[in-house]
């Protein structure tokens, strides 16, 4: 087993990236992603990591460099947040179309207007349909483990798709947590060398990024969607083997105290730990509360989600983003459609909270629990979603 140390999650994440012997890192600084790329450039400049660190002039170029590098056969990493993700948006959609196994850490942060550097999920929700595999980490250890997991899944020749690893800005990036590092033997056992399916090689010329006329575009995109759906079995296998190597077991959907639960919270990211405290307190009072945590966001784990909430009467979906003028939060909307048509479909109540890093405590989640009971009991259906804790 590797050593367990108290360390800032960003530094640990960068160390995890370095432990993969990554070949090319391209990044542009943006809060709260900075500590990750600073540490990587430090490792390169100190000769501790043999990689090309490319300090690009924008995030658009960061993702573009990653496309060129990955297509040329190099293990490739980048990292961004919020506005940076928005700027690279165009290329984010192209990378999976070209089947380039880039790994990106997204330190989740609010989208501007008004400017905010703090945490929520409005950045990642803006690229929900970009075609990347998308996972959420809840703790520092999960971030570390999922760096290795992300490279393993992305570069699996049967997958060959880019992976986004989401971690909450500041709440995870800037805190010190106890993290168990993998030793090099474990990394070697878990993560094989990158053997790309196709590369830019003068001995075997290939054309990458061709132009698709209407007669072929739909087929190309269907194939891409199939690839993402099919990636799930390789994702499950990668988690299974991760458990064998380091003894920590991950699933697409995690449950906590859902046995006999009538009301379950559904969360993504670091708030899972806070909600768990609320659920434990509710259970202590004899309330039938439970918690479901969504780790895999794309490909969406339909089966696992349905199994996790089976028997529940209501689901409280915590959203950390807004679908303006729409149905409330993007996660709730997804959960409703995932469960639509199910027998005894639970009622879905949706709270939008914790925007731009606003603190939400266990007490708040208990208040949401109580309010959700009123909402579903009244069956008025007037409130599809609630902005929790907003001053009006």
């Amino acid at each position: 087993m590797g050593k367990r140390i108290g360390i800032e999650v960003s530094i640990a994440a960068a160390d995890a990236v370095a432990s993969t012997n990554v070949d090319v890192v391209a990044a542009y600084p943006i809060t709260p992603q900075t500590h990750i790329v600073e540490h990587l450039s430090e490792l390169v400049n100190n000769g501790e990591l043999d990689a090309e660190f490319i300090p690009v002039e924008s995030e658009h170029s960061a993702m573009s460099v990653c496309c060129g590098s990955s297509a040329a056969g190099a293990r490739t990493f980048t990292c961004t947040s919020s506005q940076g993700l928005a700027l690279m948006n165009e290329i984010v959609f192209i990378a999976p179309g070209l089947r380039l196994p880039i790994v990106m850490i997204l330190a989740n942060r609010s989208m501007s207007g008004p400017l905010s550097i703090w945490n929520d999920h409005t950045d990642v929700m803006s690229i929900r349909d970009c075609g990347w595999i998308q996972v959420f980490a809840e703790s520092g250890q999960e971030v570390y483990d999922h760096v290795l997991f992300s490279f393993r899944v992305a570069e699996d020749p049967a997958v060959s798709l880019p992976v986004i690893l989401n971690l909450d800005g500041f709440i995870l990036t800037h805190v010190i947590e106890p993290i168990e590092y993998w030793d090099p033997e474990q990394v070697k056992r878990y993560l094989p060398d990158f053997k790309p399916v196709n590369t830019l090689d003068p001995d075997r010329p290939t054309t990458v990024g061709a132009f698709g006329l209407p007669g072929i575009y739909t087929e190309a995109k269907k194939a891409q969607d199939e690839a993402l759906i099919q990636s799930k079995k390789h994702i499950l296998k990668a988690w299974e083997e991760l458990g064998e190597v380091v003894g920590r077991h991950y699933k697409p959907v995690e449950t906590h105290l859902t046995e006999g639960a009538e009301t379950v919270f559904l969360t993504m990211g670091s708030i899972g730990q806070t909600v768990a405290m609320a659920v434990e307190e509710l259970r202590g009072r004899g309330e039938p509360a439970g918690l479901v945590k969504l780790r895999l966001w794309r490909p969406f784990p339909f089966e696992e989600l349905r199994d996790a909430v089976r028997g529940a009467k209501r689901i409280i979906v915590i959203d950390r983003a807004i679908s303006y003028g729409g149905t409330g939060g993007p996660v709730a909307s997804e959960i409703r459609s995932a469960l639509y048509g199910e027998e005894n479909m639970p009622a879905v109540t949706n709270f939008i909270c914790g925007l731009a890093g606003r603190d939400v405590t266990p007490r708040d989640y208990i208040a949401m629990y109580e309010r959700s009971l009123e909402m579903t009991q009244s069956k008025v259906g007037q409130e599809d979603f609630v902005f929790y804790g907003v001053r009006e």
Partner: protein, 309 residues
């Protein structure tokens, strides 16, 4: 194949790497330039292309005209994609996973992709000093989308977004001098070229490829469709651009200027402007303004070639 300019066309390689069968317009001097550049570099090359005419005409899925590795990602990011591929090769060779065979990294984009939307990415790649050759195929407007003006469109030209109107006589800004912008980045090799002078072009491409670090070549690429000339006149118009001094052919090696196709006496710009439909509306007064500007710019260039340091 050094100095093909001096010897003859016969010593050129017969092999083509930009294959026939592409969908460019008749008389497209840009496709000709692309073919010559590919021929000059041979097999050991990786090409990154911007979105644009040359990308569309050469890569309709599932066909390709490229017999060398070729990647297109988007419009404005060619220099960044190329930086990535070059860095990947550098890292992989250093780690012993591939053999360093001196592969040339070639970027290509039109004037829009280079002087407008892709200028930031190109500036970043120049500044970081990646080893690559970037060729701008300048046909002086957004031809692929239907002849809209770019910052590389010459003064006076009528395009679909700078039309010759009753009040405004077409493009009213002067062509952005992209070669000078490259020189200002201290790029070790910068040149201008034109497919009407094929050996001069190929020699420059090979010189650029031999230069460690970034190299930039700005190729005037006559577009019969957008310039409103018969396809049979492309080469002739390209020659006139050089002979009138509108587009002088020169190179800048480590900051030292040299005119490579000498024009002892410039022809009047009218000879170049008159045959082209895009300049049809120009009055003698506007032509005189252009003549004055060309004379001034040419004198400035000659002065730079005489500057000793």
């Amino acid at each position: 194949m050094e100095a093909v300019n001096v010897y003859s066309a016969r010593i050129l390689e017969k092999q083509e790497y930009f294959k026939p069968g592409h969908r460019a317009c008749q008389g497209c001097a840009e496709a000709l330039a692309v073919r010559l550049v590919a021929k000059a570099l041979g097999k050991n090359v990786i090409v990154a292309s911007a979105t644009g005419c040359m990308e569309i005409i050469s890569s309709p899925l599932p066909f390709t005209n490229w017999d060398v590795p070729w990647i297109h990602v988007a419009f404005e990011n060619t220099a960044a994609v190329l930086s990535g591929a070059e860095s990947a090769y550098k890292a992989l060779a250093r780690k012993g996973r591939i053999k360093d065979r001196g592969t040339v990294f070639l970027g290509m984009g039109g004037d829009g992709a280079t002087t407008d939307i892709g200028l930031q990415a190109l500036s970043g790649a120049f500044e970081r000093g990646h080893s690559f050759v970037y060729v701008c195929y300048d046909n002086e407007a957004y031809m692929n989308t239907g002849i809209q003006r770019s910052s590389s469109t010459p003064f006076g030209a009528s395009t679909t977004t700078s039309p010759a109107g009753k009040k405004v006589p077409g493009q009213i800004t002067w062509k952005k001098n992209m070669a000078e912008i490259a020189v200002a980045h201290n790029v070790p090799y910068v040149a201008t070229a034109c497919s009407s002078y094929p050996f001069d072009l190929m020699e420059k491409v090979q010189k650029a490829a031999r230069t460690p670090g970034p190299a930039y070549i700005h190729v005037l690429s006559v577009c019969p469709t957008g310039w409103r000339i018969p396809p049979s006149k492309s080469i002739w118009i390209g020659r006139l651009a050089v002979e009138t001094g509108i587009f002088p052919l020169f190179e800048v090696v480590d900051g030292r200027y040299r005119i490579t196709v000498d024009v002892p006496e410039l022809r009047p710009v009218e000879e170049y402007l008159k045959p082209q439909g895009r300049f049809r509306h120009l009055t003698p007064e506007i032509t005189a303004v252009i003549q004055e500007r060309v004379n001034y710019e040419y004198r400035k260039l000659v002065a730079k070639t005489q500057f000793k340091f």
